[in-house]
């Protein structure tokens, strides 16, 4: 059974002038346990909306998003929040670390709303991403590359079955991007989590064996 199975997923938005536009229209998409897939798409192709639908951040207009046997598209918001807290990791382009929190606390936040924060695990993860001596640092005291490593540690903190990465290297220089990407892939592989990464960066996409075109998956992207 696939880890993630999407069928007839649709999402549209109403613009300020009242016009409804379909942003996501995915008839079918499948991701297996431990699989690492990159989605290539240009700006406006619905990549982020697609990830947000999978994460349950957005409510689909219709369709199914079956994650680990559970159709989260049919769940009420609070239940989707729980699924996200316990089963998903999310890496953002802008890292989205909380500025007032230390690296350790930011990492622990990834567990706090699910099974509960385990600071020992947060330490282990920070150690794994090479930030053993930076656990008490706040984001502004870290380089952008280090901040993205904290974001990766946080995404893995709740032992997710699926990690979603939205342009995770978009704000990094070439060297940091390469390192960050390698790190995301390694730690996902080590923990057995599947990885679904969206990007428009050819260098990033070139490192994936399995690259899918957003335009092929999403009929609304045509």
């Amino acid at each position: 059974m696939p880890l993630l199975e999407i069928a007839d997923l649709r999402k549209s938005f109403v613009s300020p002038d009242g016009e409804r536009s379909l942003v996501v229209d995915v008839p079918q998409f499948v991701l297996h346990e431990g699989e690492q897939v990159a989605l290539q798409g240009s700006s406006g192709s619905g990549k982020t909306t697609f990830l947000n639908l999978i994460a349950g951040i957005l409510q689909a207009d219709c369709g199914r998003v079956v994650l680990n046997g559970q159709n989260i598209a049919a769940l009420p918001e609070a239940a989707r929040d729980r699924v996200r807290a316990e089963n998903l990791g999310y890496v953002f382009q802008t890292f989205n670390l909380l500025q007032g929190f230390t690296a350790l606390e930011n990492t622990a936040l990834g567990m706090m709303f699910g099974r509960g924060a385990d600071y020992a695990r947060a330490r282990e993860l920070l150690e794994r991403v090479g930030l053993k001596d930076r656990i008490a640092y706040r984001p502004r005291q870290l380089s952008v590359g280090q901040q993205q490593r904290v974001a990766v540690a946080r995404a893995l903190a709740n032992r997710p079955k699926l990690v979603l990465a939205d342009e995770p290297t978009g704000n990094l220089d070439q060297r940091s991007a390469k390192e960050a990407l390698a790190l995301v892939r390694e730690v996902c592989h080590e923990s057995g989590a599947a990885l679904l990464l969206v990007s428009h960066d050819r260098d990033v996409l070139a490192r994936f064996e399995n690259v899918k075109q957003m335009a092929e998956i999403n009929r609304a992207a045509h």
Binding site: T48, T49, N52, A55, I57, L58, E77, A78, D81, R82, R84, A85, E86, L88, Y90, F92, Q93, T94, N96, L97, L98, Q99, G100, F101, E105, A108, L109, G110, M112, F113, G114, R115, G116, A117, D118, Y119, A120, R154, N158, G170, N171
Partner: protein, 434 residues
């Protein structure tokens, strides 16, 4: 830091609140200060009000009734018990002699007022005030070791502890009284009194008094007795020329005051009997009850302002924190969780403010206690808090009710910004900022 496995979302909330308060330390401190002022003010106003009532109405007086000139009972009580206000007038000596013989009266002590020393009342009286009178059940005036009570035929004085403390007068010192009950340096009498004793503190208005023999008031230069009689040194003063300000009465049974009151106040025309003293004072507090209401209103308004400052301080941070809430939501925090975090944050500010409010309360009450003691001699108990009656059978200390109320109001003030956090659009606020 040890291993903290399974730390729940509750501790997550606590962490969110702590970090937010740290990040906005300045506005947090200012808000805590305003809450402290509000909470402290509410506690102080109710405590001062209740303690003042208790000190005046329920405090030790030592007498059951006061007999004085025809006029206001309240003025009579304030003048003789609290040594405030002017005397309503004089009564003839014969009236004192008559009431003293009344079988319903156990103790009758004459008071004659009209002079002061640096603003402190001088009361002419008999030695019974020291030998018979109990200012509190079982407690009589005592002089400091080495001192003694005055000799009724000498120019001697026994002074209250507060007078000694404020004027510096000590046993063996002499002073010259001033005419009138308010101090005027031009009105000094040309005679000297010797301090022979300093009373131990009683925490009552008596601490503010200089006691001299009654005869001394009669013979004070410039004092006119009845029929303009001016006694020469050594000359005996006829009883018919003597007048006094009041007679302090201890009855054989306090209930007998009703009989006396009917006889003197309703049937008589020459004098007034102030009885019972606490009811007379209760009338005073009834008359100035509006002051309490105004003060309470001010306190409530300050609470509203403090709640408003909590709301404003948190609300002003909401725009910059939208992204923070969106991140938390993306990590799995529920709407209710971010809502609770804001309410908890405002409640925490209110709780910290309420805690600091005890310092404000202690400060206000200490200052109020000094002012009340200086003005009236009544001592407020700073450690005793007021009780607020919630129902007929349930009352709660204001020191508990005010902080709890403030925390509830503070948490309520957080509902508006909390709703804003609750309704944060996650996807929109997670988008990269340009």
């Amino acid at each position: 830091m040890g291993v903290l496995k399974g730390v729940t979302w509750h501790s997550g909330l606590a962490l969110l609140v702590r970090r937010s308060l740290q990040q906005h330390a300045l506005s947090t401190c200012i808000t805590i200060f305003s809450v402290a002022l509000a909470s402290g003010l509410v506690m102080a106003i109710f405590s001062v009000k209740q303690q003042t009532h208790e000190a005046f109405i329920g405090g030790p007086v030592g007498f059951d009734a006061v007999l004085g000139a025809r006029g206001s009972q309240l003025q009579l009580v304030l003048n003789t018990i609290f040594h405030l206000e002017t005397s309503p007038g004089n009564i003839p000596w014969a009236m004192y002699q008559q009431i003293k013989k009344d079988p319903r009266v156990r103790l009758a002590i004459p008071y004659a007022v009209g002079d002061n020393y640096l603003g402190f009342r001088i009361v002419g009286t008999t030695a019974e005030i020291f030998t018979e009178f109990e200012y509190q059940e079982g407690r009589k005036f005592k002089v400091h070791p080495g001192g003694r009570f005055f000799d009724p035929v000498r120019r001697e004085a026994v002074i209250g502890s507060f007078v000694a403390q404020r004027t510096g007068l000590q046993e063996g010192d002499v002073f010259r009284p001033y005419h009138g009950i308010t101090f005027n340096e031009l009105e000094r009498h040309d005679i000297e009194y010797l301090v022979v004793g300093v009373l131990e503190p009683t925490n009552s208005p008596s601490d503010h008094v200089l006691w001299i023999p009654l005869e001394g008031v009669f013979r004070m230069p410039g004092h006119q007795l009845k029929d303009k009689f001016v006694p020469k040194p050594g000359e005996e003063i006829p009883d018919s020329s003597k007048e006094i300000s009041a007679v302090m009465l201890k009855l054989t049974s306090p209930e007998l005051g009703l009989d006396l009151s009917t006889q003197i106040n309703r049937q008589g025309t020459e004098a007034t009997l102030a009885w019972p003293i606490d009811r007379v004072l209760l009338d005073l507090f009834d008359k100035i009850g509006w002051v309490d209401k105004v003060l309470a209103l001010v306190a409530y308004l300050v609470v509203v302002v403090a709640a408003g400052s909590i709301l404003a301080s948190i609300y002003n941070t909401m725009n910059e924190r939208r992204r923070e809430f969106a991140i938390l939501r993306a990590l799995g925090a529920q709407r209710a969780t971010v809502f609770s975090a804001i309410v908890l944050e405002s409640g925490t500010i209110a709780a910290l403010g309420s805690l600091a409010g005890f310092v404000v309360y202690a400060g206000i009450l200490n200052v109020a206690a000094v002012i009340v003691r200086d003005q009236t001699g009544v001592v407020l108990n700073v450690l005793q808090s007021a009780k607020i009656e919630l129902t007929g059978w349930l009352s709660i200390s204001i020191l508990l009710l005010a902080p709890l109320g403030m925390i509830a109001v503070g948490a309520l003030a957080g509902v508006v910004p909390a709703y804003k956090a609750y309704s944060t659009d996650v996807a929109q606020n997670l988008a990269p900022m340009s």
